[in-house]
Amino acid sequence: MSKDFEQQLRDALRPVDPEKGFEQRVMARVASEPPRSRAKVTRWTASLALAASVAFAAIFGAQQWREHREEQGLEARKQLLEALRLTGEKLDLAYLAVNRESPPPDDGSGA
């Protein structure tokens, strides 16, 4: 135990090499993986496609919603005009009926 204890520990834990051919064995396993560059491109493409789909859906949805609101506005306007037209007709009829039934006004001469 004369040697410095920590140095003894370093000597005992000296890094060791794996068995020969380790690098080739790793590369053989790597070869069974999907190609890196293609995987990268595919990931990018998928991300871009997803982003484009979301943007398209948002724009299309907004357009549809605006058209729907416009249609609703036009329909409401049409209904209002129809209601006004009907009301006008009723008022005209009522006016005519009132005028027809009422006696001519007395002129006050007594004749």
Binding site: Q8, L9, D11, L13, P15, D17
Partner: protein
């Protein structure tokens, strides 16, 4: 010309990230010793260490885009190797597998050091609890300072220091105990007069 020749480590990383398999192979060659040694010291078994080291490099292959420099790569490999090793030790403990101690058999035969002493020391390190073993391996095998160990293991610096202090004290005591037993044992067979 090989990918590792005339190429800085950062350049190798860039080329490997671009999908050049020769550059990735050069990275494996560069770091296989670090990753395999961590796995071996933690798992104490050559076959399981090789399997774990291969898995670490496969994970690296899938994560190359997230690594921005050679220093980051070294840090990443140590961290992933340690985390995977600790996970595997926990899984095996759950299923009741007995750890082997093959790591102790990996000793230097150069003659400059005492192989028996080294073997005993490696055996004692292999018997430390996983977290303490990880700290000792990173300190004395990878030569990291306590701050780097804390970052690698996501552990508070005081816990790292505490593990180091307690592990050293325990190892020293057990080595001393082993030395005393070794001194006594040769005489035990002789009849007393």
């Amino acid at each position: 010309m090989k990918a590792s020749e005339a190429c800085s480590p950062d350049e190798l990383l860039t080329r490997a990230s671009a999908g050049e398999s020769a550059a990735f192979a050069a990275l494996v060659l560069r770091y296989q010793r670090t990753v395999y040694s961590i796995a071996l010291r933690m798992l104490s078994d050559r076959h399981r260490a090789e399997d774990l080291a291969q898995e670490v490099f496969l994970q690296l292959y899938r994560s190359l885009e997230s690594i921005d420099s050679d220093a980051h790569l070294a840090f990443w490999l140590r961290k992933v190797a340690m985390n995977r090793a600790i996970d595997r030790i926990r899984q095996e403990a759950r299923y009741g597998n007995e750890p082997l101690t093959e790591a102790a058999a990996v000793i230097d035969e150069s003659g400059e050091t005492d192989p028996l002493l080294e073997r005993r020391m490696a055996e004692l390190v292999a018997q430390l609890p996983p977290a303490a073993r990880a700290v000792v391996v990173l300190r004395y095998q990878e030569d990291l300072d306590p701050v780097d160990i804390a970052n690698t293991l996501d552990m508070p610096i005081n816990t790292v220091k505490s593990h180091l202090k307690r592990s050293l004290s325990s190892l020293r005591a057990r080595m001393l105990g082993a030395a005393i037993v070794d001194d006594i044992q040769p005489n035990m067979g002789e009849p007393s007069r």
